[in-house]
Symmetry: C2
Subunit: 201 residues, 2 copies
């Protein structure tokens, strides 16, 4: 922005908002203006929610999730299944699975996937902690819920090797047709996987 | 969201972020996660910037702009031309014009445009204040910088009628080919206007 228009306070707000994923300089200006117009309904509550989040949110030292306590609510919930660990690359993946309600076990957030291009090596991920958790006697199965990308699958293979000496079953997510998906729009790899892994009707 | 995943604090942050223009529920989650991950670099500063904005930003009682003082910096800047008032529908339009650097005068924010469909009537806009400002002896010209939409142009005509008894020149923005625009992609109305309002080379 070449000229400061509405004072340094709004400029600073715009600059910070523009750092959010999904907001560019133009939409950050629009968001800032919206906030300023809705001062009592939105700007105030959001400022408070952010202050609270900053104050209280911590990373769970056990699974890598974020919560207001450590260990997090998912790690301490007595109704969840201790025999199952679901390994995800990122907290966003954990949230997606948790929204689906499909996971009854615990989670483990790797903090990324191995990537030669991005220079992500095994020591950058929480692999030691995962091996330690998978070694606990209660654990029977580790589900590798990683993206079906080259890096995700490389990481899955790497973890499988790491856990091979442990008495746990290592599984991965099924490939196949997305629910509601149309065959005509699917790529060949997905169709091949869906045919190969077909199930009884 | 069917289940609360990472505690009520993050859920509240996500819900509030989703109210920003340009962010839906999914991108609000992504933004919240980004904020939580960048607690010191982004979440803290943004919480503070919002608290400051909430505390200090006011609407200028003269022109309708937002600033930390009333009258705002644009209204009190002694270098600006008191003989010219640029009328805009919204603060966003004021910011766009101010970024362009094309305006040397003062602004007047209407707070919208007349719209039969949306039920916006003259009394909802700051028209009385505009007439009062345009009646000041220093004012020589009022530029109607309104959108080239039906509602914008209706509003422009309405204002022209309001100001007709005053000794001020009322002008509007030129229509024509956008700078960098290609003729082939322009609509007929713009091309007709660009031909009609052609200028000397």
């Amino acid at each position: 922005m070449s000229r400061a228009i509405a004072g340094p306070e709004i400029e600073r707000l715009i600059q910070l908002l523009a750092k959010l994923p999904g907001l560019g300089p133009r939409s950050a200006r629009r968001a800032a203006l919206h906030l300023v117009k809705k001062r009592e309904q939105l700007l105030g509550p959001l400022a408070e929610a952010m202050a609270v989040a900053r104050e209280r949110i911590v990373v769970c030292s056990r699974c890598g999730n974020v919560d207001t306590r450590d260990p997090c609510g998912l790690c301490t919930d007595p109704r969840r299944d201790d025999s199952l660990i679901v390994v995800v690359a990122d907290i966003a993946d954990l949230w997606a699975l948790e929204r689906s309600g499909a996971v009854s076990g615990r989670y483990h957030v790797l903090g990324g996937v191995l990537s030669a291009l991005d220079g992500v090596r095994p020591e950058h991920l929480t692999l030691d902690a995962l091996v330690a958790r998978a070694s606990e006697p209660a654990v029977k199965e580790v589900i590798l819920a990683l993206n079906a990308t080259v890096d995700g699958q490389t990481t899955a293979h790497f973890i499988t090797d790491l856990l091979t000496h442990l008495p746990v079953k290592v599984t991965k997510l099924a490939h196949g047709v997305p629910v509601g998906g149309e065959l005509d729009y699917l790529d060949d790899g997905t169709l091949v996987a869906a045919i190969r892994q077909r199930t009884g009707f």
